[in-house]
Amino acid sequence: MKFWEYVLKRVLLFIPVLFGTIILIFLMSRLLPGNPVRLMLGPDAPMSQIIQVTNELGLNKPLYIQLEIFFINFFEGKLGMSFLTYRDVSIDIAQYFPASLEEAIFAILIALLIGIPLGLAAGIKQNKTTDNIARVYAISGISFPNFYIAILLILIFGYYLKILPISGQINPFIPPPQRITGMVVIDSLITGDWPAFVSSIRHIILPAFVLSISPTAQIVRLLRAGIIENKNKPYYLTMLSNGMNIEILNRKYLFKVSFIPTLSILGLLFASIISFAYVVETVFAWPGLGRYIANAVLYTDYNAIVGGTIVIVIIFMVVNFAMDLIYKYFDPRIRYD
């Protein structure tokens, strides 16, 4: 029962923080110096037009009324109208969100698939070749600007080798699958649409890989450090000298313990994936949320920026919160008080 009490307590604490964040973002967008209407309309706009647009957007009302209107709309699911697409921002977000989710899931999968074996090998065979390769990869991984490596990969795979496609989510000449979840790979898998499935997989490899480089590097680094630390602990050496099979030993005992710190940064990894998704999405013309917001910033689409930021922040907080709970559930050293 103790764990559930803890969960309840955390949820109760989480909600005001969530509200506080939304209010904070809203205040920032309204209170920072700089006139967004001016930025939107350009420097030559006549005063009358500026006043008109300001009234339309409701920016001239006192702050608490604006906040009230915003929250009323928010709970009805409306986030204001986008200047570029003339649709409600929430509709735009609902359309682009699954693509970003798909990309993020694949990126984390790739990061885990590559990072865990590499980190394990680096830790177990410390200071040998595998370890050095892994360490170089880890450092380069976090040092490489992701747009740079995206461009390089596009050049290599898209242009010189002509293996993988350069942009978009699916080949434009292949009819897209029926929209169930909105994620093209999963939808084509569910509906059994084989050409669409192959095409979408081919399209998602590069963006997901580029996004996964930085998390992979961090996973390798942390896992390696964890393994090295635990390798010299007495219980490990005792079991080893008692003749235990080293494979079972590593897999069953060493890995789980060393993996715990990595689990704890999964939230941070997710943060970095969300944060840098917009760069990768722009380079690959991937129709995701990041690109939507980056575009909105470029064209100063005010409602889209604020709405998109709030949605991303909410998602991030919820995911972080969930991961925090999961982590606390599995770590036997935590006391729930």
């Binding site: 923080v17 506080g20 964040t21 904070l24 973002i25 920032m28 967008s29 920072l32 110096p33 700089g34 967004p36 930025l39 450092i139 380069s140 976090i142 040092s143 490489f144 600007p145 992701n146 747009f147 740079y148 461009i151 596009i154 050049l155 242009y159 010189y160 940064i265 941070l268 943060a271 970095s272 969300i274 944060s275 840098f276 917009y278 760069v279 722009t282 380079v283 917001i293 980056a294 909105a296 910033v297 470029l298 100063t300 005010y302 920026i305 604020v306 930021t309 991303i312 922040v313 991030f316 907080m317 972080n320």
Partner: protein
């Protein structure tokens, strides 16, 4: 009755170099620090590259063969030329020398990358010290506000701030600093909570030191290590963020030759005129790499755990 010979050592000590206790509670002196540093080859490589880059950026005016190209000059008679003796890295679509632009862009990128973590650290460490030492009400308020900022992914807020403030170097610095300081508050507050319980702090209090003196002369030098390492690691990350923002053209007014923006400019001309994108990107990579190597080396030496 201050001994003048010891003043320099005391100043260094106040920064934590000299006599300090690391995580194993040993006394490590300055010579030992340098010795360890020299043994860590990667850190030396990182430091050398970093010094070269700073040198290039500071003396860009004198080193750049065509300094006016970093500004408004255009030369339509020499557009899109590949690397040659005349233009080491070639020219872009407006005939501007890429090498000169990179040098000036390096200034921009390095300034942003260096100031953002420092500003974040200044604010964050101060708040963290207050929160950790004075505890209870003030501490809780500060930590709750920090929690709000911590739960926001960094770039998203930066995008928001830039969209309202408009482009420019100062605005990028402000935008990225807003989310940065929250990490320092959490780190310093945890450190202060631990250090506060130690005997020497209690002894100092009994001897009648003012709170100010306790915080600045005793707690701060011991809490500063993870912060210094984190600043160095963060610099690389800050440069990455600035370059990413510049790549999308956010926060840049042309013709400012910010390195990320240079890569974006050259993207249109791939793969034929590859030199426009490749070299700026290479410099971004070197900058981040050198700082990361340096930060890693420092972290190895100080034996500190940093998130």
């Amino acid at each position: 009755m201050k001994n003048p010979k010891n003043i320099s050592k005391r100043i260094l000590a106040s920064f934590g170099i000299g006599s300090f206790k690391n995580i194993k509670n040993e006394n490590v002196k300055l010579e030992e620090f340098l010795f360890k540093f020299k043994r860590n080859k990667l850190a030396i490589v990182g430091l050398s590259i970093f010094i070269i880059l700073i040198f290039l950026a500071v003396f860009a005016n004198w080193i750049a063969p065509y300094p006016q190209d970093a500004g408004i000059a255009v030369h339509f008679n020499q557009t899109l030329q590949p690397p040659s003796f005349k233009h080491i890295f070639g020219t872009d679509d407006l005939g501007r020398d890429i090498f000169s632009r990179i040098l000036f862009g390096l200034r921009y990128t390095l300034i942003a990358g260096l100031t953002i973590p420092i500003i974040g650290a200044l604010i964050g460490v101060t708040l963290g010290l207050i929160a950790g030492y004075f505890g209870k009400k003030i501490g809780t308020v500060i930590m709750r506000i920090t929690d709000v900022f911590l739960s926001i992914p960094p770039l998203v807020i930066a995008l928001l701030v830039i969209s309202v403030l408009g482009p420019g170097l100062l605005n990028i610095i402000i935008a990225l600093s807003i989310d940065w300081w929250s990490w320092y508050v959490r780190m310093v507050q945890a450190e202060v909570l631990v250090i506060r319980e130690q005997n020497f702090v209690e002894a100092s209090y009994i001897l009648g030191s003012s709170k100010f003196r306790i915080i600045f002369s005793h707690i701060l030098p011991n809490a500063i290590f993870p912060v210094i390492v984190k600043i160095t690691l963060d610099m690389g990350y800050a440069i990455l963020n600035v370059a990413s923002l510049g790549f999308l053209g956010l926060g840049i007014t042309p013709p400012t030759p910010e390195l990320g923006y240079l890569v974006a400019e050259g993207r249109l001309f791939l793969p034929n005129d590859w030199w426009i994108s490749t070299f700026p990107g290479l410099f971004i990579f070197l900058a981040i790499l050198s700082i990361n190597l340096l930060g890693d080396g420092l972290r190895d030496i100080f034996d500190v755990e940093v998130t």
